[in-house]
Amino acid sequence: MLGLSKVAGVITGAAMLATSALGLGTAQAADDVIKVGVLHSLSGTMAISETTLKDAVLMMVDDLNKNGGLLGKKVEAVVVDPASDWPLFAEKARELIEVDKVDVVFGCWTSVSRKSVLPVFEELNSMLFYPVQYEGEESSRNVFYTGAAPNQQAIPAVEYLMSEEGGSVERWVLAGTDYVYPRTTNKILEAFLKSKGVAEEDIMINYTPFGHSDWQTIVSDIKKFGSEGKKTAVVSTINGDANVPFYKELGNQGIDAADIPVVAFSVGEEELAGLDTAPLVGHLAAWNYFMSIETEENDAFIKQWKAFIGDDNRVTNDPMEATYIGFKMWTQAVEQAGTTDVDAVRQAMYGQEVKNLTGGTAVMNTNHHLSKPVLIGEIQDDGQIETVWRTDDVVVGDAWSDYIPESAKLIADWTYPYVCGGCEKPMY
C-alpha cells in the first residue's frame, strides 16, 4: 500500500507541476515584439474553413514584418488550435490573452465559438477581430465585426431576386442549417418578405442539422414547392460541410438556375473548390467580396496569397477579405494610436478606412461593424463567382436588425454619449 501511495503522490504531483509549468513557462512577454493571436480551428469540423483564415493572418503578419513591422517592432503571430471545440475556444482565448499576452486576436468562425470567447474578451478587456458574416444582434466593446451583417448580405440578395433583373421571384424557400445564423437571417427575411407583401404560404422554411448529407427529400420538396405556378427561389443559409452534398443533389436532380435559382450566403469560392460547378452555373451567392473581381488591390492580394501558400489553385474568399480589412485597420489604428493598448486602439479604430479589395473604401463604424459594398454573383463553371449586381454605394453594417421588433429599438454606438452595444437611450 505504501508503494502505491508513493506512486500516486509522485505522479499526481508531477502532473500538477507540469500543469503549472504550462502557465509559468511562457508567461513572459518580450517588449520588442507585438503579438497577434490567431484563434482558428485547425482540426475538427471547422478546420475546412478556418485554416485558410489562419494562413491569411500569417501572410499579413509576414508582409507587415517585411515592411518594417509595426511601431518599429517585430510582429509575431501566436497560433493555437481550438479544435472546433467551443469551450476550448474560451480556454485558448484566455491562454492567448493571459499567458501569451497577445495584443489582439483574430479568430472564430462559428457564432457559438464567438459567444464562447466573448466573456473572456470582455473580462480581460482584449480585442477580437471576427471576420465572418454573421447574424448580427450583438455588439461587444471588445469585438470588431468585419464580416457582413444580415443587412449587408441577405436583404440586398432578396431584393435583387425580387427585381425584374433577378427574375421577379414571388415564392421563397428559406433553407438553412439549424443554428443561430440561419435562424436569425430567416427571421429577418421572413419579416422583410412579409413587409413586401409575400404571403405566408409562399414562404417555406426548412432547417437541417449540421453536416447533413442526404438532401434527396429536401431537394425534391423544393422542386415540388417550385411547381405551384409562381417563380420560386431558394435562399440558402446552409452551413459549410453540408453545402457540397446539397449542391451535388441540386445538380443531379436538375434544378436549373433559370427555373429555381438558389442564392447562398455561406457558399464562397472555397466551398465551390470542392465541387464540380458545371451543373450549378447561374446559382447565386451574396457576399462583400468575390475573387473574380478585377481591381489592382485584389490582383495583388491573390498573387500574394498564391505565393504565400505555394499553390496556384488556391482561391480567396470573403472571410479572407474581411480578415485582410480587419488586419489593415488594426495596424493603421495601432500606428495612429502609437501603442497597442486596447483602449487607445479602439478609439483609433472608429472611422478607420481601408481600401476594399473590390474597390471603394471600407469604414469602421462606431457600432463596430463595417460599411462595405454588397455584391451578388453567379456561380461559373470554373468555380468562380461572377458579379451580376452590386450596390452603388457602401452599406452600413447594422448590429441590430430593423426587421426584428425587439432589436429595432436598440442602438449600438461605442462613442459618447451612447457608449453601449445595445441600448435604447444614451448612457450619458
Binding site: M1, L4, A8, T12, A15, G23, A83
Partner: protein
C-alpha cells in the same frame, strides 16, 4: 494467508474508516493541499513568485477537476461493473444544462433584449412565454435537485430497459452512443428550447457572485475539488463494500453472479444511476467555469474521449481515472497551444501507445511493477479491484 480471515468484511463504513484502496489517502491529501494552496497562492503571492497560480490556471484546473469527476464516474461503472458507456457525456451535459438553465434565469432583465422572464434566445425565437420545463430553475435548490435528478432519471430509465433486457457488451456501448447522439441532435434543434447550437451562454452570476470575479473562480475551483473528493469517497464506499465485490463479480462472470442469486440488473442499475449523478454534478460545476454549455458536449466523440482518460490512467483504480483525465487534458491544452498543427499526432499516439504498452493504464501498470518488486522482497498481497484477467466479452 489469511488477512482475509483476520480482516473479514465489517461493512463499508468500517472499510472506509480503516483504509482506502492503494494511494487513496495520498490522493485525498493532494486534493486537500490543492484546495488550500491554490486560493492562497492566487490571492496572496505576488505574480512574480514561482509559486503564484494565475487566475487563468485556476479556471483551467477547475475544468480539469470537473473532467476528473466525470472520469471517476465512468471508472465506477466500467472499471468495476464492466459497463462500458460510450454516452456518459450525456449525463455530464444534462447536469450542465440544468446548471446553465439556472444561470440563464439569473441573468434576468440584463439580457440584450431586457426581457425579465425569457432568456434572449427565446425572445429571439418569438416565444412569448417560458416553456414549462424552465419553471423553477430560477430557484437554486431546485436547479441543484435537477442536476441530480435529470441525469439520474435518464440513467434509471435507460438502465431499467437495457439491463433488464440484458443488453451487454458492445451492444450496450453502442446504444449508449445512440442515446447521446439522439440527445445531441435533439438539443441542436432550436425548437427544443435550449438555445440550439449556441446553447446557453452569457451567464452573469451564481448565487449573487459575479462569475467573472477571481473570488468566484476560486470558490468554484474549491467546490469542484470538494465534489471530486466526495465523489471519490462515494466510489470507494461502494467499491469497498460487498456490493463493490458483486459488481466485480458481474464484470468478470455475469451469469455466475446471477446463479449465485444476485439480480444483476438491479446492481447495474444502481451503479449506473450513481455514476450518472456524479457525471451530472461534474457537468454542473463545469458550466459556470467555462461559461457555456452547448450540444457539442453530447457528441459521441466526447464520451469516447472520457473512456480514454480512464484507460490511460488505469481502469478500475478510481484515482487512476482522475490522473488520466488530468494528463490527457493537460496534454491537450499544452499541445494545442504549442504544436497546433501536430497535436493530434501526439494525442493519437498516446492512445495507441497506452493500449499497446500500458494495457492496464499508468496506475495499473505501476501497481504491477510494485507488486513484482514486493514479491521479490516478501509475500504477496491482493490488490483492490485488480484489472480483470480477461475481458468480459
Amino acid at each position: 494467508m489469511v488477512d482475509m480471515i483476520n480482516k473479514p468484511n465489517k461493512g463499508p463504513f468500517v472499510s472506509l474508516m480503516t483504509g482506502l484502496p492503494g494511494g487513496g489517502k495520498t490522493f485525498l491529501g493532494i486534493l486537500l493541499v490543492a484546495a488550500f494552496f491554490v486560493p492562497l497562492s492566487n490571492t496572496f503571492l505576488p505574480e512574480s513568485s514561482p509559486f503564484y497560480v494565475p487566475t487563468y490556471l485556476v479556471s483551467l484546473m477547475g475544468k480539469y477537476v470537473c473532467f476528473a469527476l466525470l472520469a471517476l464516474s465512468v471508472d465506477l461503472i466500467w472499471g468495476f461493473a464492466g459497463i462500458l458507456s460510450l454516452g456518459h457525456g450525456a449525463f455530464f451535459a444534462l447536469g450542465g444544462y440544468a446548471m446553465g438553465m439556472y444561470l440563464m434565469r439569473q441573468i434576468g432583465d440584463r439580457g440584450v433584449y431586457g426581457n425579465p422572464l425569457l432568456p434572449d434566445f427565446m425572445v429571439f425565437l418569438n416565444w412569448t412565454e417560458l416553456p414549462w420545463y424552465w419553471f423553477g430553475f430560477d430557484i437554486f435548490p431546485f436547479a441543484m435537485l435537477m442536476v441530480i435528478l435529470v441525469p439520474g432519471l435518464l440513467a434509471f430509465i435507460f438502465g431499467w430497459f437495457a439491463f433488464r433486457s440484458r443488453v451487454t457488451g458492445v451492444y450496450l456501448s453502442i446504444i449508449t452512443q445512440a442515446m447521446t447522439y439522439a440527445l445531441l441532435l435533439a438539443f441542436f434543434r432550436n425548437d427544443m428550447g435550449f438555445g440550439g447550437n449556441n446553447g446557453l451562454t452569457d451567464f452573469k452570476d451564481l448565487l449573487g457572485f459575479d462569475l467573472q470575479a477571481t473570488g468566484t473562480r476560486l470558490g468554484l475551483f474549491v467546490a469542484s475539488l470538494i465534489a471530486l473528493a466526495l465523489g471519490y469517497l462515494v466510489c470507494c464506499f461502494i467499491t469497498q463494500s460487498k456490493l463493490g465485490r458483486v459488481l466485480i463479480a458481474i464484470r468478470d462472470a455475469e451469469s455466475r453472479t446471477r446463479f449465485s442469486g444476485y439480480r444483476v440488473e438491479y446492481y447495474k442499475l444502481f451503479v449506473f444511476v450513481v455514476s450518472a449523478i456524479l457525471a451530472g454534478i461534474a457537468g454542473a460545476l463545469y458550466v459556470p467555469q467555462v461559461g457555456i454549455i452547448n450540444p457539442s458536449e453530447f457528441s459521441p466523440a466526447n464520451s469516447i474521449e472520457v473512456v480514454i482518460w480512464v484507460a490511460v490512467g488505469g481502469r478500475g483504480t478510481l484515482w487512476g481515472a482522475v490522473l488520466g483525465a488530468f494528463l490527457v487534458n493537460w496534454g491537450k491544452s499544452y499541445f494545442t497551444g504549442s504544436f497546433p498543427d501536430a497535436w493530434l499526432y501526439f494525442l493519437g499516439g498516446l492512445f495507441v501507445f497506452t493500449t499497446l504498452f500500458l494495457p492496464k493504464g499508468i496506475v495499473g501498470t505501476a501497481a504491477v511493477w510494485i507488486e513484482k518488486f514486493k514479491n521479490k522482497q516478501q509475500g504477496s498481497s491482493p490488490m483492490q479491484a485488480p484489472v480483470p484477467v480477461k475481458e468480459e466479452q
